[in-house]
């Protein structure tokens, strides 16, 4: 029960939207395709669904090539960003649609509709018109509709992006739990890091139509394949460093980083890589200060040998945060650092 893509390419005329992609999704696994908009991730998903014709490569399910299998015979569920519920049907009829196509009898359908609506937290919504639902409710119905025919694989195209922030975080947690509880095999497309890391067992990073890296969320987050991937994952500044017996030495000081190996590496700094610390190794002068919800964000011009020349971001506590012009000392925080071996 696995999905396997080999050398998959999709072209729109002269433009290669997806190039030479290899990827597999195991039974019960949730894989997130993460990348900036326009990177080809949705096209890849549509090709798997059978909505785009690949220019080259194969899509297999359990070793069977799907090239000649039409959309409606693939048994893959699809959830769009904005639900795409049938406006002329009520909630129950939307959820029952797939089962009706699969000739499930009426009593069984009604039972499963109730089950699914309860599962997505919308018990009793069956007779509502879909136009009366909020965005979050619509998305829950879309999910129930896609799950109802028990698809072999669930495809989710930016399932939470159209929702506002608080709702998105809540639904991401719910969705992750639901996918685990039902043992659903799923491929999720998203441009949102949090969404990808919340939902996925493995994350596949896509850029320019290619998959740059595949791995468990923490691995991808800490050890991006190269500086471009690291850049997409929030690293804004790169500092050349040397790793020796799990200790990384750079112009910003020494930092123990388990698993960093030996040799030349590149430290990718995220916004929280440096923190104010009276005993810190790094010195600099505050250029700008911004207030965030739970901390102050500083822009600091570093002093010292071989340090980055552009001001870097640093985190300070809200209370007693230094003013622009103040001299500060900073220390590296391993949580804000990605380690990559390659410069592209």
């Amino acid at each position: 029960m696995t999905l396997e893509l080999q050398g998959l390419s999709v072209r729109y005329g002269p433009i290669a939207a997806v190039s030479d992609v290899d990827l597999s999704v195991a039974d019960g696994e949730v894989v997130a395709l993460l990348g900036p908009s326009g990177c080809g991730k949705s096209t890849l998903l549509r090709a798997v669904a059978g909505l785009e014709r690949p220019a080259a490569g194969t899509i297999r399910w359990d070793g069977v090539d799907l090239a000649g299998v039409a959309v409606h015979r693939r048994d893959f569920g699809l959830v769009f960003q904005d639900g795409q519920l049938f406006p002329h049907k009520d909630v129950a009829a939307n959820v029952a649609f797939g089962m009706r196509m699969h000739h499930v009898d009426r009593a069984e359908r009604a039972k499963r509709v109730d089950e699914l609506l309860a599962l997505v937290g919308l018990a009793g919504y069956g007779q509502r018109r879909v136009t009366e639902l909020s965005g979050g409710e619509q998305q829950r119905v879309a999910l129930a509709r896609a799950l109802a025919p028990k698809p072999r694989l669930l495809l989710l195209d930016e399932p939470l992006s159209a929702l506002d922030r608080a709702l998105r975080e809540q639904l991401a947690v719910d969705l992750a739990a639901l996918l685990r509880a039902t043992g659903t095999t799923a491929l999720v497309v998203t441009h949102d890091h949090d969404e990808a890391f919340t939902l996925a067992d493995r994350v596949a990073l896509m850029q320019g139509g290619r998959i740059r890296q595949v791995g468990p969320p923490d691995e991808v987050w800490r050890r991006p394949a190269d500086d471009v991937v690291a850049g997409f994952l929030g690293c804004t500044t790169f500092v050349p460093a040397r790793a020796d017996h799990d200790v990384v030495t750079s112009p910003l000081g020494e930092l123990p980083l388990p698993g960093s190996g030996d040799g030349a590496v590149l430290l990718g700094l995220r916004a929280n890589a440096l923190r104010t610390d009276p005993a810190g190794f790094v010195r600099g002068e505050v250029v700008q200060r911004l207030h965030r919800r739970d901390h102050a964000r500083l822009l600091v011009r570093l002093s010292g040998e071989d340090v980055p020349t552009n001001p870097v971001e640093a985190v300070a506590p809200v209370a007693g945060a230094p003013e622009p012009g103040d001299a500060v000392r900073l220390a590296l925080d391993p949580d804000g650092i990605a380690l990559t071996g390659n410069l592209t």
């Binding site: 409606h72 569920g77 795409q84 049938f86 649609f97 797939g98 196509m101 896609a146 025919p149």
Partner: protein, 525 residues
């Protein structure tokens, strides 16, 4: 959709309207053109000063009528789109009545109203028909245009009028252009109205073609004029197609209720103007009804064949013929029009040229003289293995040709407004291509299909140009019978004609009310 079966279905579906167009439109018209080009008549016609005077009058009266219709239609479009007032629903319905009234009825109404007005009555009558096209095409887009751009302009210091000319007008301009092109077409090829009101003095290309064919048997001359007309019409259609393309794809719908509100301040002037236009539209209709009621002799005589057997059948029988022919025509046209609309809505963007061409080809019959087409049938259809010329299906075929474009124009915007991903969602849930069509397209466009059928039915009922050419004397439709009654002397004939007109009008109004209840917000007319 990447699947062999559905890739085959579309071309097969396209074949249906294309075959019909070739057989019942392109071939007859081409053979007329051939006759025109074959003889020496064409140069004689083209070099004659009379011809160019005719062309000038045809285009001039069409341009004038278009202008009047646009000016009169704009306040109505505004009121229908932007104002929350009681009675708007009634206005929406009433406005459609003139558009689908049989030309003969309108001709007669204006003759009763302005007995000797000549050009003026021709222009007004043609404009009368087409106010609805402006009001509904422009109003349709206007109602769904976001008010906020206008409000932004006001906030930036623009007066109400300035905001209208600099923000609103450009955004609804494509609809105005599209409506004007269609109206110009209708007016340039208008037949019944000009024939009834112009008499021998004022002739257009359309009536001249008829005259030369029927009365003078000058086929090459008629054919040469037809060529002129076809060329002019294609030019106008191409312009209209460009305007329309911008609009149907760019339709970003907002609910009407979101944008409509009670008028304030100077907006009441526009409402008053719209009201004046409404009253003006009702005058000919009321005049006609009053005239028919001055004596009941005409009504009683509907069972007869008129003064000394003017008709070969009774007026009621003619009405029966009308209903039968319109029913057949509507069935044909629905099959053809829906097939064409499905094909056009499914063509990918990459195939835009093919789509535009098919779209244009389907609109062409609206603009080419019905007289030319009817005349072409008589020339070509004898060559078919089965002789259609004596068949009772001949008139329905000709009427189907006229109403198919209207059906396409009504259904197509609705089909195009359906999000492709809705179909894809149905596909991933296990629905095959045909099932997707039934569950999504048909379910969502169902009401507009019924409306299109009703609309086509009414227009077929009133079709005069081609029908007058093709209907056999022993089986006239009601409009043909009315024209004949008017043509012949006799007080009873006249009274009968008015009564028959009112009958035709009542059927039309009834149909319009039904259509209006069914028409969704999107749709052209």
């Amino acid at each position: 959709m990447a699947n062999a079966a559905s890739r085959l279905v579309l071309p097969l579906l396209a074949l249906l309207p294309i075959a019909f167009l070739v057989l019942f439109f392109a071939w007859p018209v081409a053979s007329i053109v051939g006759i025109g080009l074959g003889g020496s008549g064409v140069t004689a016609v083209l070099t004659s000063g009379d011809t160019w005077q005719l062309v000038a009058f045809t285009l001039g009266q069409a341009a004038a009528a278009t202008l009047v219709a646009v000016l009169a239609g704009m306040p109505l479009a505004y009121v229908m789109a932007r104002c929350k007032l009681p009675g708007i629903g009634v206005v929406r319905t009433l406005i459609l009545v003139p558009f689908v009234l049989p030309t003969v009825v309108v001709g007669l109404a204006f003759r009763a109203l302005l007995p000797d007005a000549g050009v003026l009555s021709i222009v007004l009558a043609n404009a009368f028909f087409n106010v609805a096209v402006v009001a509904r095409t422009v109003g349709g887009l206007w109602a769904h245009t976001d008010r906020r751009a206008e409000e932004a302009a006001r906030a930036l210091g623009a007066s109400r009028w300035r905001a209208f000319t600099s923000v609103v007008l450009p955004s609804i301009a494509p609809a105005i252009g599209s409506a004007a092109a269609v109206i110009f077409l209708f007016c340039a090829t208008s037949f019944g109205v000009v024939l009834m009101l112009g008499g021998a003095r004022y002739r257009t290309l359309e009536t001249e073609i008829y005259l030369r064919t029927v009365d003078l048997f000058d086929l090459p001359g008629a054919a040469a004029l037809s060529i002129l007309q076809v060329v002019a019409v294609i030019a106008v259609l191409v312009i209209g197609a460009f305007a329309r393309r911008r609009r149907e794809t760019a339709l970003r719908l907002r609910g009407r209720l979101e944008t409509a509100r009670r008028p304030v301040g100077g907006e009441w002037i526009v409402v008053a103007a719209a009201l004046a236009v409404m009253v003006a539209l009702l005058v000919p209709i009321v005049g006609l009804v009053t005239k028919s009621l001055t004596t009941l002799d005409g009504w009683r005589a509907l069972t007869s064949t008129g003064d000394s057997g003017t008709l070969e059948v009774s007026a009621w029988e003619a009405a029966g013929n009308s209903l039968r022919a319109a029913t057949d025509a509507t069935i044909f046209a629905m099959v053809l029009g829906v097939a064409a609309a499905v094909v056009l809505s499914q063509l990918r963007r990459g195939r835009a040229v093919l789509g535009e061409t098919l779209d244009l080809a389907l609109m062409l019959p609206l603009g080419v003289s019905a007289v030319t087409v009817g005349f072409g049938y008589l020339v070509t259809l004898g060559d078919l293995p089965f002789d259609l010329r004596t068949s009772p299906l001949l008139v329905p075929f000709a009427q189907a040709l006229v109403i198919t474009p209207l059906i396409v124009r009504t259904v197509l915007p609705v089909l195009r407004a359906i999000d492709e991903r809705l179909r894809q969602a149905a596909g991933t849930l296990g629905a095959g291509p045909f099932r997707v069509w039934r569950e999504v397209d048909l379910a969502l466009a169902g009401r507009s299909l019924i409306a299109a059928a009703g609309f086509g039915y009414v227009v077929a009922l009133g079709e005069f140009g081609a029908t007058s050419f093709l209907a056999r004397p022993d089986a006239p439709t009601l409009p043909v019978a009315i024209a004949r009654l008017i043509d012949r002397p006799g007080e009873l004939n006249n009274e009968m004609a008015y009564a028959a007109c009112v009958v035709l009008m009542l059927v039309t109004v009834l149909a319009v009310v039904v259509i209006e209840r069914l028409t969704p917000a999107v749709g052209e007319f």
